[in-house]
Symmetry: C2
């Protein structure tokens, strides 16, 4: 692994222009890793461009440089670095397969399921890809400053849901110490990431929670299109709701059913370590992580409920704990924002 | 300050029996500090008793030794240590003023408003009193183990609401690193502290949030006695709700009005750094911290709403930011459990 890091260091030190790519539906770790690396390389004179096929979410627009993201592939950069992205599908529309081998493609990722599609792949388990970027920057002898530290700490905080995931080990906490000492404001980042709800969002949560169900370890709520329209909320208003449900003591699995339009239901799943919701999501055409997964069903709300609750019941009875595959489809590591 | 710590070390090293007292309505920092110190002193052969006037909350009963708390004052101990307690009123019913000077009374507290009522007072600003206990234990040369570390990390996590308060600095994070390295499980503690809600609790939140109000930077909800009865919830079901409200972007102040019985309303206040809700609570006969305060009003729900919202509006217009006094009446440092 350290061999890959050394190769990356050599490539980056020899490059005049670098393109850094974050994955689609970008989260704090993708945006933070890309920007943290860009700002660090700029400190030594490298020209850096950051790219992402999708828009930077509003909650991450406080990050310095977040307005710079372009939705394009390489133009005249000497090296491409793709961060936090486990497969090329996650690069999205800006990925032209035929332009693939023109310049070295570097992959830096903390997902051990990474398909190693780069010319150099540095894939190592960490709580966040930002930790790998910090290690690279430190190895390259680039001094940290508050801008770099803010970008990297944001990735660590979002991917660990504010240090609440099981991936948060002493090393992750030590990274936070380093970045705070370098000038990142933990309080500002926590506020930006976790205090960005709207009152309309909470009104939707209210409608959903008023009719919360808990049966056999599964807690679930439904949000109909009508609910969203009634309070004038966007579908994204349910983000974070499944995390809130998963804070209930007796719930092993939390499910949010969201009707996008008649006959189409988006299902968001969270689970305690014993239950693998990625496997359940995969069996329904979706995917994700063991503890945070999702799927999109062509069904009415009651049909979707029956389908998913049955699949969960079966899976939990069988105590199926086989590690689920599947790509991370629309589910970030921390399961959206923390509740 | 370090002089006080050295005196405390000398007193504790000379004691055969020590009584360690946590404050009324105990939170994780009070219970964690008391137990962390007790387990550490026991490692060197000291007999320790832990005392608290009130019961240990259910969410803290995972802590080793939490079942040992007795609601009594000193019997035959040589030294008393009161932790995390800013004044004698917070010791509660187990405090007999006349027994006060029989043996040395040691106070260890991170609240700088502490009234220094002990014979030796070690009051120093930290994110949690548990950090001071860790410093004392380390100075005394007592090796940490997983039991001591679990107790102390719990206090740090609850008082910083999972590292989300502004008091969480690099030193606090470094303390967490030390305690995780000593064997505390961050994940287990986070789960115990923040994943202990009931579905009934969320149903109450649902009722409240369905009618959430946001006006002039103040977000508020009400929970009537009838609401609680309808879903069969205890009044404590609203705990954490004001923290959830305070995650709304445009809210500078969050208020939860809870009708305890006809004509009696409990008011819970949270605020962004600019607004001092302790001063507002104090003006209404309550108290607390600048960012987390509360009061009890003899009024109907509509009367209480009018009273508090007016006081807030006035305070926010005046930009009154004078540091509010008041004792911590029923409001813990982190504002109950994190949302």
């Amino acid at each position: 692994m350290s061999g890959a890091r050394e190769q990356i260091q050599t490539l980056l030190e020899g490059a005049e222009r670098v393109l850094i790519v974050a994955h689609i539906e970008p989260d704090g770790d993708a945006i933070g890793s890309a920007l943290g690396l860009a700002w660090a390389l700029r400190r030594r004179g490298t020209l850096c461009t950051v790219a992402c096929a999708d828009e930077v979410p509003a909650s991450l627009r406080f990050l310095p440089g977040s307005e710079e993201f372009v939705a394009r592939w390489r133009v005249d950069e000497d090296v491409m670095v793709v961060v936090d992205t486990s497969d090329t599908a996650r690069i999205g529309a800006i990925y032209p397969e035929d332009a693939r081998h023109e310049v070295p493609l570097v992959v830096i990722d903390h997902h051990t399921t990474n398909l190693r599609y780069g010319d150099v792949n540095w894939v190592e388990e960490r709580a966040a890809t930002c930790q790998l970027v910090l290690e690279l920057v430190t190895t390259m002898g680039i001094p940290l400053d508050d801008v770099i530290a803010t970008c990297l700490l944001t990735g660590l905080i979002t991917d660990t849901r504010g240090f609440r995931t099981r991936s948060t080990d002493a090393h992750a906490l030590q990274t936070a110490v380093t970045l705070v000492n370098a000038g990142a404001s933990l309080g500002d980042i926590m506020d930006a990431v976790f205090r960005s709800r709207s009152s309309t969002m909470l009104r939707v949560w209210g409608l959903a929670l008023s009719d919360v169900h808990l049966e056999d370890g599964v807690i679930w709520v439904s949000v109909s299109q009508e609910d969203l329209e009634r309070v004038g909320a966007a579908p994204s208003a349910t983000e974070g709701l499944s995390n809130l449900l998963s804070t209930v003591r007796d719930a092993e699995v939390a499910v949010v059913f969201r009707e996008l339009r008649p006959g189409v239901v988006d299902v968001s799943l969270r689970s305690a370590p014993r239950v693998d919701v990625a496997a359940v999501a995969l069996s329904l055409g979706g995917g994700g992580h063991r503890q945070a997964a999702g799927c999109l069903l062509e069904a009415s709300l009651p049909e979707a409920q029956a389908l998913v609750l049955n699949a969960l019941r079966q899976s939990m009875t069988e105590k199926t704990t086989a590690a689920g595959g599947g790509t991370r489809r629309g589910v970030d590591d921390a399961g959206h924002s923390g509740a």
